[in-house]
């Protein structure tokens, strides 16, 4: 039997606020353990939470960027469970009345526009960090707890089970990451945990409307892990079903090394979180005008930029996608490009040798790039020389014109000098000249090459062609 894969994702994004969600401790990454803690984020008896305005703003921003309905009334709830990294033994989150619902994210897969529905987006607090004495949690005699991370603001984004392949799941998550980056609410680094993803996956007979039993897959620490784990899990479930077995509703953890998922706990063991309204925080009532202002100030989103690059700047999907996926390149392009104009040279430059150099050494100042394109356009240097100038630009603080001047790389414009060089070359190869005369026209290229060599490549090949033709015609 053939099966349809059904995937839904649960994504956590750490918000890029200066201070924590419910207290004023710093959110900076990498400090010594337990140095960014206070009575509130340690859950000391008597301490009380106070919501960070910026966290709400960022969550609203994310909701708007995901085309969600932002609710003017939402509420905080307590999710009660015991775990050593959870200082109050409850997490302040939003359960019954989340901040945002009913959104979607659009993205291209192989030129095909896809849309994944966002069920909800809500605010909650991060837990602390555990360091295990052994290799993993299970074989550790003891664990160490650092509460620096406890209380950093998170948004949890839940998708509908709309995703139909592991690859789509990865592409969705990549697009979501890009979106969060564009609107500036998070640095979305999977390796630092500021972007995390759990996936629910089930199989159903192809075309069936009835969903199968879902399995939650955790510990997905990279885009690749997400795709690989889902591929593994889809295959595992397919085999179980084909052998007439049943899928257990459970949580499974992905093991990067073995490339397998392993059972963590079954549904029956799922804790009862005993949600109830957080009495220490009044409900969140947003001023609709404030939400409108955030909406109005929302920066361009990746898909919007893609469309603009194609429409206004005449780029191909491939080129536009490159610029969207590398927003720094996109930014640079938009600074230098002319809407409606010819931006071929610019995009070729950016996607060509510049890309590799910029990744290694960082971007050049836009003015220097403009000047480089200009002097090629003017004919001050040749296209092939521009590569040398480009390399030099990464090493030297000089402007392209200064470099060209200093290196003496200007194009040789003196026609007489070129003519002399041509005559010299022809005079040096009388035998070849005879063969050319006899009709061996492909030798023309050889003569061009020799002339260019004679002028150390500083001549415009077009001009050389022109002059060489004239000279040969005269001699023939």
């Amino acid at each position: 039997m053939n099966y349809d894969i059904v995937i839904g994702l649960e994504i956590h994004v750490a918000l890029l606020t200066e201070s924590k969600f419910l207290c004023s401790c710093s959110t900076a990454f990498g400090a010594a353990p337990n140095t960014q803690c206070c009575p509130v984020c340690l859950g000391l008896p008597g301490s009380l939470p106070m919501v960070n305005e910026k966290a709400v703003e960022y969550a609203v921003k994310a909701g708007l960027a995901l085309n969600c309905q932002v609710h003017h009334f939402s509420r905080f709830d307590r999710k009660n469970y015991f775990y050593p990294d959870l200082p109050k033994a409850y997490q302040i989150t939003q359960d019954t009345y989340p901040l945002c619902t009913d959104g979607y994210l659009e993205y291209y897969i192989d030129d095909q526009l896809h849309r994944t529905a966002i069920t909800r987006l809500h605010l909650e607090e991060e837990a602390g960090k555990l360091i295990h004495s052994g290799g993993s949690i299970v074989d550790s005699e003891y664990s160490l707890v650092d509460y620096n991370r406890a209380g950093i603001p998170l948004i949890e984004i839940v998708t509908a089970p709309d995703i139909t392949s592991p690859r789509q799941a990865r592409l969705f998550l990549e697009q979501l990451r890009l979106l969060m980056l564009y609107i500036g609410v998070s640095d979305v680094k999977m390796e630092e945990g500021s972007l995390r993803c759990d996936a629910n996956i089930s199989l159903k007979p192809q075309g069936s409307a009835v969903l199968g039993t879902k399995v939650e897959v955790k510990n997905l620490n990279s885009f690749r892990a997400l795709e690989r784990a889902l591929e593994y899990e889809a295959e595992r479930q397919r085999i179980v079903l084909e052998q007439g077995g049943k899928i257990r509703q459970e949580s499974r953890t992905w093991d990067e090394r073995s490339g397998r998922t392993a059972s963590m706990r079954s549904k029956a063991d799922a804790p009862d979180y005993r949600y109830f309204p957080e009495p220490d925080l009044p409900p969140l009532r947003l001023d609709p005008a404030w939400v409108e202002r955030i909406k109005a100030s929302l920066p361009e989103r990746p898909l919007e930029r893609l469309r603009r690059l194609e429409k206004e700047f005449g780029l191909s999907r491939y080129e536009a996608t490159f610029l969207v996926n590398y927003p720094d390149f996109g930014q640079l392009f938009l600074e230098l490009a002319v809407a409606g104009g010819d931006n071929r040279a610019l995009i070729n430059l950016l996607m060509g040798e510049y890309a590799g150099l910029a990744r290694e050494f960082g971007h050049l100042e836009p003015e220097r790039l403009t000047e480089l394109l200009a002097i090629v356009d003017e004919g001050l240097i040749t296209h092939s020389q521009s590569k040398a100038v480009l390399e030099e630009l990464f090493r030297s603080p000089l402007s392209p014109r200064q470099i060209v001047k200093e290196k003496g790389w200007e194009v040789l414009r003196d026609v007489e000098q070129l003519r002399e060089a041509i005559q010299g070359v022809l005079a040096g190869h009388p035998d070849l000249l005879d063969r050319y005369r006899a009709g061996e026209e492909r030798l023309f290229g050889f003569f061009v090459g020799q002339v260019m060599r004679a002028v150390q490549g500083k001549a415009d090949p077009k001009v050389v062609n022109q002059l060489l033709k004239e000279e040969l015609n005269r001699l023939v």
């Binding site: 000391l44 008896p45 008597g46 009660n80 109830f276 009495p279």
Partner: protein, 476 residues
Amino acid sequence: MRRLAQLLAAGEITSTELVRRCLERIKETEPELNAFITVDEEGALVQAAQSDERRARSQALSPWDGIPLAVKDNISTKGLRTTCASRFLRSYRPVYDATVVERVKRAGLIIIGKTNLDEFAMGSSTEYSAFGVTKNPHDPARVAGGSSGGSAAAVAAGQVPWSLGTDTGGSIRQPAAFCGVVGLKPTYGRVSRYGVVALAPSLDQVGPLAATVEDAAILFSLIAGADPRDATSTEARPFALPAWDPQVVQGLKVGVPEEFFSSGLHGEVEAAARSVLRSLEEQGAVLQPISLASNEYAIDTYLTLVTAEASSCLARFDGVRYGERVPAGDVNTMFAKSRGAGFGPEVKRRIMLGTYVLSASHYEAYYEQAQRVRTLIRQEVARAFAEVDVIITPTTPTTAFRIGEKRNPLEMYLSDLYTATANLSGVCALSLPCGSDARGLPIGLQIMGNHFQEELIFQVAHVVEANVERVAGFEL
């Protein structure tokens, strides 16, 4: 207190002398009373010396600079053991001061020690303390009430001029009534809860206990007002001492809820309350029978909400960051053993009940229903205050009961029958002495006022007080 302030200002007495006087009184009475868990003799004398220095330089922080105070032991005091009368916290020293503690310190008050309570404020008799029972100064065979029993007894026995307590369902007013002192449960949110170890955050309030109405009002003026660290207090207005005006009762509409004068009410208590009402009527007040029929559900509602919130609030006592840990091989066993050993029977009982009412299958029927009934009660109180200025009732159905008399927890909970309504509806209420029964045990009168009407109920209480013999308090 005015007299103490004058003596201090005139230099006729020093803070050090006052503190020594309190310490002596504590030494004399404490073996029998057990009002304190911790007496900070050394710290208090240091603070007193500093206060005397300030006075000498004419830099007193307030007129009350140098006057000693006792603080209930569920209010965080920096560096001073805060046990909540629990074994679990028997050696816990907070790293921070509660906002109310900060405020009284800023006024120059001297914290002489921490008073006894029912463990985590769960109780109505101060019998459920890991540090022994607090006795009633009027009859050591009887309870002081609770949970702020230590704070009430310390004031009644003249160990300190005033004290701070907390009130979730009557925990200031009931012991104030039993011990013959004045105690105020402020409007919810008028006093910061920051640093007050939570029992039920949607009901808890800190309030003053003192021998006279004016003293209670003075202490209240020092602690009231918005706190940016407590999201439920930020609309709270500060409180200024009123000019005491005996005319305040002229035309005052006094609501008398018949439900509070019915079954279970002790005859002598009823007589004392009715006599005050008559006297007020004679002075120009208008008595108006009202109905608070839903008070019948107050205790059940209160219990459901308190146990639920408490089960969550007390979950943080897990033995990871503070408190007494019982070592075990794995973390869950460590949690369970530490909590099992650290908590007393009443605390465990309430955690069990609270866990039950919040669990997924019972949440709707118990917790949510209780929240709805709470709305009903709140609306009924609001309707009453649309018609009357204050509501007057007995504070408790009986005078202080004998130690060990109430063995059934449900029976114990009934001590809060008349007081829980103010917490459920968030209004302010105070208790002041209005006579004694045949055994010489004080009787308390409750005056309830609408939200933020503390000034009015203090004024009315001041008028009532003028006709009542003072039964307790601090003597020089």
